[in-house]
């Protein structure tokens, strides 16, 4: 397991401004000029040596993007984004496929070190032979939208699993990419998805063939590095009949005064009896205590449970970004398919999160569970927004939703906006939501047992999030817990 996000000593963090991952890496970059036009898209496509059909698809997405407006329904506020004032392509300059440590840019290695990636994983990322024996996680590292290294590919290939940058999948497995790309999130689905479809530069591709249980956790590490550069990665995961895969993603960015745009798209496809477990620890730079800087995170994540008894489970711990706009969803098409959404969203200072899920029940006896825990501190606003829809053919379908909000301090906001729609009498929907604060007697009880105020809050917050954290792979859960503690610093008076 990668220990990429390893919070340091909280005291150190507090004195230095909380965000440990805020360094910048001085790697030689190749950057396209600012601005977005058909020419930009042609340039990206050419850089990637893409087939004609993909360029056409991008251009169609771009046309759709120009026809749509930024959505306004979310409870978020930000100054207008100038889409012409961004770079849409930035890549670390390097020779393709470093074969030894010496070939890897030393700055990149230094970055891994700062990120707390254990040495042997660094070696794996750097491509040193023989380094793959010890650790059970395969990692794809994406820097500014370009995949720089993917580990364990041979071990995975033996099992029949494809795990590679999506740009490579376009070249090596065009039939798979062409078949599934945009099949869950169409090119023109929404403003940000259309933008991503037009300009995405890289991301991860996973294909687990029929009957294969992926032998290890797959992990992608996303890092925004370059200044004024939008990051638009695209992830596509396909689990064929009876396949199983657990996928983790982690995200960080440097500390900057200006806002950076991130608009990713993730598509998951699960066929009969397949299971995809998708876990995210999102720790993009949230901006400083005054609300300067931070990532604008507009993400479209959607999974299609196409097959009978298929299952897609989203788990997310969202502590970063100035703005989070994200609704990992499940289209429950196959009979008896299962969708799950487990979420912790913590906002502090001036962060704004509008996040939740959509569970669209199409098939009979489909089942979904939503557990959402929102924690608001500082002057932040935290909104759960979710849709549960039971379509006429969803006989015997079930949904259970639990949304809890916790407020820390009286300058923040916690909002719950569920949309619940049912058109089938045999479908059953249950929704519960609560809002509360940390009770004084809980705090007092902890403190009378010797805990500091801050430790007591962390303890209670972790308890509040337990139902979600337990869904994460264990080591990730430990990281997530520490991350919550670090993100809360300065919120308790």
């Amino acid at each position: 397991m990668s220990a990429r996000i390893e919070p340091r000593d909280p005291i150190e963090a507090a004195t230095e401004g909380n965000y440990k991952w805020g360094f910048e890496t001085a790697i030689e970059m190749e950057i396209a000029p600012k601005g977005l036009s058909e020419d930009t898209i042609r340039l990206i496509s050419a850089k990637k040596d893409e087939p004609e059909w993909l360029l056409a698809w991008r251009l169609k997405a771009f046309a759709a993007w120009r026809e749509t407006c930024e959505p306004e329904w979310a409870k978020i506020k930000h100054p207008p984004i100038d889409y012409q004032d961004l770079h849409y392509y930035a890549a670390p300059k390097r020779k393709p496929g470093p074969k030894s440590l010496a070939e890897v840019d030393p700055e990149l290695l230094a970055t891994y070190e700062k990120l707390g990636i254990p040495l042997r994983e660094r070696a794996i990322l750097a491509g040193v032979e023989g380094a793959e024996e010890a650790t059970p996680v395969a990692i794809d590292a994406v820097f500014d939208s370009v995949s720089v290294a993917t580990t364990f590919r041979e071990t995975l290939a033996k099992a029949g699993v494809i795990f590679c940058p999506i740009s490579e999948a376009v070249r090596e497995h065009p039939e798979l990419v062409r078949r599934y790309l945009g099949s869950v999130v169409p090119a023109g689905d929404n403003f940000f998805a259309a933008l991503n479809s037009a300009v995405f530069t890289d991301g991860s591709f996973v294909f687990v063939p029929k009957g294969v249980r992926c032998p290890m956790e797959l992990s992608t590490y996303f890092r925004i590095n370059a200044r004024n550069t939008g990051q638009f990665e695209r992830t596509l995961i396909i689990a064929e009949e009876g396949a199983y895969v657990s996928y983790l993603e982690g995200c960080t960015a440097p500390q900057r005064d200006e806002n950076q745009l991130h608009a990713a798209v993730v598509e998951l496809v699960a066929l009969d009896d397949a299971t995809i477990k998708y876990s995210t620890v999102q720790n993009w730079y949230p901006g400083d205590a005054e609300g300067r800087g931070g990532i604008y995170n507009f993400v479209t994540k959607r999974g299609a449970c196409r097959g009978a008894r298929s299952k897609i489970s989203w788990t997310q711990v969202e502590t970063g970004s100035a703005i989070t706009w994200k609704y990992p969803s499940c289209i429950l098409q196959g009979e008896e398919s299962v969708g799950e959404f487990y979420s912790v969203a913590l906002t502090n200072h001036h962060q704004q999160a509008d996040t939740g899920t959509k569970m669209i029940h199409l098939g009979a006896n489909t089942k979904s569970t939503i557990i959402s825990k929102g924690i608001s501190a500082g002057r932040s606003n935290n909104t759960y927004r979710g849709l549960v829809r039971m379509m006429p053919r969803a006989h015997g379908a079930r949904n259970f939703t639990q949304c809890d909000s916790l407020l820390i301090g009286d300058r923040c906001g916690a909002h719950t906006i569920p949309y619940i729609e049912s058109r089938n009498p045999s479908a059953r929907v249950e929704h519960e939501a609560t809002t509360s604060k940390i009770a004084d007697d809980q705090l007092f009880y902890c403190r009378s047992r010797g805990l500091s105020q801050e430790d007591a809050v962390n303890l209670i917050v972790n308890g509040f999030c337990k139902d979600v954290l337990k869904e994460l792979p264990m080591e990730f859960a430990v990281e997530a817990q520490k991350l919550l503690a670090v993100s809360l610093e300065g919120s308790v008076g």
Partner: protein, 385 residues
């Protein structure tokens, strides 16, 4: 004809407005009604009055009907004709329309510490031929400090019409209003009611709204808890069938500390009926120690019925206890079998379970006669099934 033109231009809210996403007023726009004409002899409508004794203010086609009314005690001022503050309704197109067209209404003012007992407010609308008509009544109800009133509101009619009343309620400190509303409009009609309730310190507003009638109905309540310790209970039930569309929308704004709000809304939907519940609890920064609770439950009795439900919490104060719940389902087959195994025929067993389903929402109705009226209205719904 002048009015008709004004109506056409007025711009009914479209589904693009978030608060109207589940209710489509295009059928109302297509109705193209004219202002309801005066009914000279209203006595024939006596049969439409609810079976409740005591003082009664009756409006027919938007005008007072003294022949059908029973004067309230002289302590209560029940006048009409006043000027409303349109600025307040700017964001609410239907209230704006009402402000444009309303000419009459009741003004009920209960003096401080006076127990005004029960008063019934009846709206009857009658379209005389096939031409659809509209009425826009505007009522004001003000209770003085410590005053109490039980207000039963009843709406019914004949033919095709649109009834669009606005009621403004202000409750002075310690006042208590029990408000029972029965909407039994014709199956061809449109009913859109907007209520504004302002509560000062320690005031109590306890409402129960029963929606049975109308082809399309919306009951929208904006309650503002503006004084410490105020309490609002907004319960309601809709029993719909056929192609009926019923929408219960509410916004409860907690603006002062230590207030409580309770809301239990039940939808019973048969045929191709569509029920909507939108309920928002807003807690302002100042409203510490707020205790808000909301429950929305729906029973779908047929495969073509639909429920859309949007319970919302918007909270800016930290020391609060707010929760909501929503459930949607069918009648429980286990319960149905249990009743039948005790000899209760299926139809009666269903009615019994539906009545039990409504119980939690109705149990707060304290006035015996009003409750009996509700029970018989619900009982009548089954007979129409």
């Amino acid at each position: 004809m002048e009015r008709r033109a004004a109506f056409a231009q007025s711009g009914l809210p479209s589904r693009k407005l978030e608060s109207w996403r589940y209710t489509d007023l295009r059928p109302l726009a297509a109705l193209d009604p004219i202002a309801a004409p005066a009914i000279v002899d209203t006595t024939a409508l006596a049969a439409d009055l609810p079976a409740l004794s005591g003082p009664r203010l009756v409006f027919v086609n938007g005008r007072r009907a003294p022949a059908l009314s029973v004067a309230p005690p002289s302590d209560i001022i029940a006048a009409g004709g006043f000027v409303a503050d349109p600025a307040r309704f700017a964001a609410l197109p239907l209230a704006v329309l009402n402000a444009q067209f309303a000419q009459e209404g009741a003004e009920i003012v209960v003096p401080d510490r006076f127990d005004a007992g029960r008063l019934t407010l009846v709206h009857l609308t009658q379209a005389e031929d096939t031409t659809p008509v509209f009425t826009h009544l505007r009522h004001r109800i003000a209770l003085g400090a410590g005053a109490t009133l039980t207000l039963v509101e009843y709406a019914a009619g004949h033919g095709v019409y649109w009834h669009n009343p606005v009621i403004e309620i202000t409750l002075a400190p310690g006042a208590r209003l029990r408000h029972i509303r029965i909407q039994a409009e014709t199956q061809e009609s449109f009913h859109t009611a907007t209520l504004f309730v302002d509560l000062l310190a320690g005031a109590r507003y306890e409402a129960f709204t029963l929606g049975l009638g109308a082809r399309l109905a919306r009951s929208e309540t904006h309650a503002r808890l503006g004084g410490t310790g105020a309490h609002a209970a907004l319960s309601g039930a809709q029993l719909l069938r056929g192609n009926q569309h019923g929408d219960i929308t509410s916004v409860v704004a907690h603006d002062a500390p230590g207030c409580t709000s309770r809301q239990t809304v039940k939808n019973v939907l048969a045929g191709r009926a569509r029920g909507v519940f939108q309920g928002r609890i807003e807690v302002a920064r100042a409203a510490q120690k707020t205790d808000g609770y909301q429950m929305s439950q729906a029973l779908l009795l047929s495969p073509e019925a639909e429920i859309d439900c949007k319970p919302e919490l918007e909270i800016f104060a930290d020391d609060v206890k707010c929760s909501h719940g929503a459930t949607i389902g069918a009648l429980d087959p286990e319960q149905l079998f249990y009743l039948r195994a005790r000899g209760i025929p299926e139809a009666a067993a269903r009615a019994m379970l539906v009545r039990a389903f409504l119980d939690e929402a109705i149990e707060g109705v304290a006035d015996g006669a009003a409750r009996a009226l509700l029970e018989s209205a619900i009982g009548g719904w089954w007979e129409g099934a």
